[in-house]
Symmetry: C2
């Protein structure tokens, strides 16, 4: 059944030269229709698939995209990467690309890994996650002219490279509006300390939605590190002060904590990220369109790699998250 089917096998079977087979694959318009049909039939019959290694030797392209897999660090939010990776793999396959994994500790180590991966496997591109302020990785990649796309905006830096991101502000705004529509007037926000792009962005949505509804957000906000305990403390604190009847949180961890602030004074709570935890405890949460984000990453990369770079189409994609309604709000 097998026994290494090469372009020569196909050529022999279809009674043409090896070159003609190659043409059918790479420049079909050069081949007469009848010949092409014969060759394609042979390819089908023999189950021929081009050998990537050989192709790569000639073209210098591996059709491989590398992504870093991080340890599920904080656990509760880590499970997002899982779904993103799945989406990436699924979107890349039909475009003819495969996903290769790597790990790294810190930006410098990651850059060294790029070098290694590039030299050994001739990677076509990288997908970067968790972009942050002063990201050395994007600088290095850009300098070396390596195609890449980030999942996450280049916070605080000029966006010279293609990126895909989720509009966190739109998410918290939708959550806030939903609570307003449900009759809440004093809606609090628990988020991360000022300075993180993602965190500030999520806070923005709540703030804007409150103002848009002529509600006063002052005193209704706490900024703390991520964590269940922190969420709980912040919620208790708010409850004792401004006394919100609902809370929008920057993460499911914070939301889970908020949910347990006070059993006697139940507040509506909406989390962020729609993690497994939210599903498990029936927490309403803002869910990111991870599969769609991944597909967009692949699309931007494919465009880059297939030379279509000057088509003028947008290099940036901002996707809207949506509130997944459950029992908590």
């Amino acid at each position: 059944m097998s026994g290494k089917v090469t372009i020569a096998t196909v050529a022999h079977h279809a009674q043409v030269s090896r070159q003609t087979v190659s043409n059918v694959l790479n420049s079909p318009h050069l081949v007469r229709e009848e010949t092409r049909g014969r060759v394609l039939a042979a390819i089908e019959t023999l189950g021929y698939r081009a050998n990537q290694a050989a192709r790569q030797m000639r073209t210098g392209r591996s059709r491989l995209i590398a992504v870093r897999i991080e340890p599920a660090n904080d656990g509760i939010n880590g499970s997002i990467l899982d779904r993103f990776l799945h989406g990436l793999t699924e979107a890349a396959a039909p475009a003819g690309y495969r996903i290769m994994l790597y790990t790294a500790t810190g930006d410098d180590n990651e850059i060294a890994t790029y070098d290694d991966l590039l030299a050994s496997y001739d990677l076509d591109a990288f997908v970067l996650t968790s972009t942050h302020h002063g990201d050395a990785r994007t600088t290095w990649l850009a300098e070396h002219d390596i195609p890449f796309v980030t999942f996450g905006r280049p916070w605080g830096a000029p966006d010279r490279h293609p990126w895909v991101d989720v509009d966190g502000a739109a998410g918290t705004a939708e959550a806030t509006e939903r609570l307003i529509a449900a009759g809440h007037r004093r809606i609090g926000f628990i988020g991360w300390p000022t300075g993180s792009g993602v965190g500030d962005n999520r806070r923005e949505g709540w703030y804007a939605a409150m103002r848009a509804a002529d509600l006063d957000p002052s005193g209704l906000e706490r900024r703390v590190d991520d964590g269940v305990a922190e969420g709980r403390r912040s919620a208790q604190d708010l409850l004792a002060g401004a006394g919100p009847t609902a809370l929008v949180c920057a993460s499911d961890s914070l939301a889970l904590g908020a949910l347990r602030a006070d059993a006697r004074a139940p507040v509506a709570v909406i989390g962020f990220d729609d993690t497994p935890v939210a599903q498990a405890i029936s927490l309403t949460s803002v869910g990111q369109p991870l599969a769609e984000s991944a597909a967009s990453c692949v699309e931007l990369l494919a465009r880059l790699l297939d030379g279509d770079t000057h088509s003028g189409r947008p290099q940036h994609v901002l996707l809207r998250p949506h509130v997944v309604v459950r029992d908590s709000g």
Copy 2:
């Protein structure tokens, strides 16, 4: 700085032939020490890394291992794969292997993917997860002589292939013993319906531990589909009947449900898998040694691929999970 450093560049730099460089890399014993030193120095200086594509053309080996990434289906337990994948990637790198991802829906589709991956990328091996009864994949791979290892025992089938698994029974036994040591006498078990290898195995540990302590397990067991609601119902059911004071569960989902069975009659609960959910709600849970499992998979594969197959070392690895103690039990 770069500009494609090949074996020829190194040869030139070290004043030797290309072949000698290759020998230094692949058969060092053939090269005089002084020459070898010179070549290695050149390699270091130039930052040479062998081109995998070219190497693969000659050797037929890609140093690529494929793993399937599944959609985080049920969410709560899906996050396990994440950590396993990370471990795999981390363990494979030092052994000179890289991890490639693929997706598939159903065994047949997965087998078609094998064929594709093998033909295009010359994959060296596969790591299979979620093995099940009558697994068509292992049969196919074995028939085609493709090296592979499964994470999960070949339930109900003769184990002709290398596998790595976690001793679920040991985990639930440890959980049960822990509860016994804490003074509990009536310890219940909530697990999955009879017939799933993993589920039956986890039940075994509880049963054995109860008997070993001269405790009567009868009436203290419920078998239901996985899920928070199912866990809750089962726990309420048990509480109303045999009245256990503690519960061992086959999953964190079930455990979470059990925890909410009755706020007025708190029972000790221990879950399984130590998912992010367990961490979030401070649920004591049996944690699988995922990184270690992944490392074992790589080790078994490396042994297989490096021809060391007849060394007589064991092809099966059974690892012990451990209870991660938190507030619930």
